[in-house]
Subunit: 258 residues, 2 copies
């Protein structure tokens, strides 16, 4: 199989990871799986004997990931889907007596990425109801389990694809993928130490002149307020606002005294 | 809000984490979110002004997690949903200028679990199309981002719930949740050193008698096979099988020589 042109993952090891869905019953799950893949930067989808494909419901659930569906390759056997892969992982909630070694999703993602540095790798998901057959699992080098609730471990197919692709993405970027949002927080420069001290002195004056703070019995009020504002790591603009308020209060207080 | 009776998560900090879905449009997503929660051992679902609830589509997509839907509490405001929470995290793909500090899903899950040791915590998801309003985000102590593909970061609502609940589960069990499957691998006792040596000697005999191995020109064949079998960490039954095969081969070879 050739890598689809224009894949947003080319250059990343993620580009060498294909998601193989075997004998999927519900076309909606094909679309939802495509969407899940694309959100995590994967693009290579291979379908082994899907019950209905192409299908409108798949497109509807893809919600913007129709390109993944359009590029999907349909194979009539798992062997064809895995033909050029050196390493394949079978996602399964069931233990297989004669299956390959089992890894958790997180560890499997790390190993898959490492193997993707050497060649093509595959991540295999079975039918919604029956899962993967033993014959399918035995074609893989690892089984992968999602550490789910032992009392109810039935993840939706697309949800399982989402989790594994998420772990692959985090593994690909060593836990630090590029952010969705370029975080430019609302911020003026942090207030300097002197600006902070002037603020605290201003605050103290107002507290005293308001009668709230008795300098003879301070009751640790100022240290408590310093702790609060210190934790907030005040910015210059914020201090300007606070001191503007304190100015206004002082004017009122001195006016009343006149 | 009272904890639902019979929650499979009671006793775990997960029992103090509620998933709050605000203004959800599609009832199918409510069911899928309930299923996602249950697979990860969460059970407390709170719905703020859902468009349609209860609804047959929600039940259909819950697929065995109907109990989570049945126990779900419906609130008419976010403030009501968060009333008894000391800590709330808003899941959002967008950066908010005046929002609370932002954490990745993994770090947020750790912090939520730590806070859940002290009191009730909430994980908030917005409407499928519009997401969360600024007013909603500002009622939370953290924003949470899923490190998605910057070119397509649109996770399905239930997929986002699945990812966060998965991270919460892993955080709750410090990365090692109890396994879904009690792994009792197919295994006989490991082969003893002597059993292995007898096997290698047997193998060598057969290799020589087959003509494949020339003792005068061994070409490192035996060390290479030892390496292979050594890596496999042979079990007693496996050696019995291999030696049964070697026996059969020897019989054939000696028969032919007669």
């Amino acid at each position: 199989m050739n890598r689809p042109a224009g894949s947003q993952t080319s250059g990343s090891p993620l580009a060498r990871v294909r998601v193989v869905l075997s004998h999927t019953s519900h076309p909606g799950n094909l679309g939802a799986a495509a969407r899940a893949m694309k959100t995590m930067g994967l693009s290579r989808l291979v379908l082994v004997n899907p019950k209905r494909f192409p299908d409108d419901e798949a497109v509807a659930r893809a919600a913007g990931a129709e390109d993944i569906l359009a590029q999907a390759e349909v194979c009539c056997s798992l062997d064809a889907a895995l033909a050029d892969c050196a390493f394949a992982c079978a996602v399964s909630a069931r233990h297989r007596n004669l299956g390959p070694p089992a890894l958790s999703a997180r560890l499997a993602a790390s190993e898959m990425l490492a193997r993707a540095g050497e060649g093509e790798v595959a991540l295999l998901f079975g039918n919604e109801t029956a899962g993967l057959s033993n014959a399918e699992v035995q074609r893989c080098q690892r089984t992968v389990f999602i550490p789910a609730n032992p009392d109810y471990s039935s993840l939706n197919l697309a949800a399982a694809v989402q989790l594994l692709c998420y772990e692959l993405r985090l593994a690909a970027f060593a836990g630090c993928p590029p952010l969705v949002t370029r975080a430019v927080p609302f911020a003026s420069p942090p207030a300097s130490h002197q600006e902070q001290q002037l603020f605290y002195e201003h605050l103290e004056r107002v507290m005293v002149s308001s009668g709230f703070l008795d300098p003879q019995r301070p009751r640790r009020l100022l240290p408590k307020l310093r702790r609060l504002f210190g934790r907030a790591e005040l910015e210059r603009d914020e201090i300007n606002i606070l001191r503007g308020l304190l100015d206004a209060l002082e004017r009122q207080l001195s006016g009343r005294r006149q």
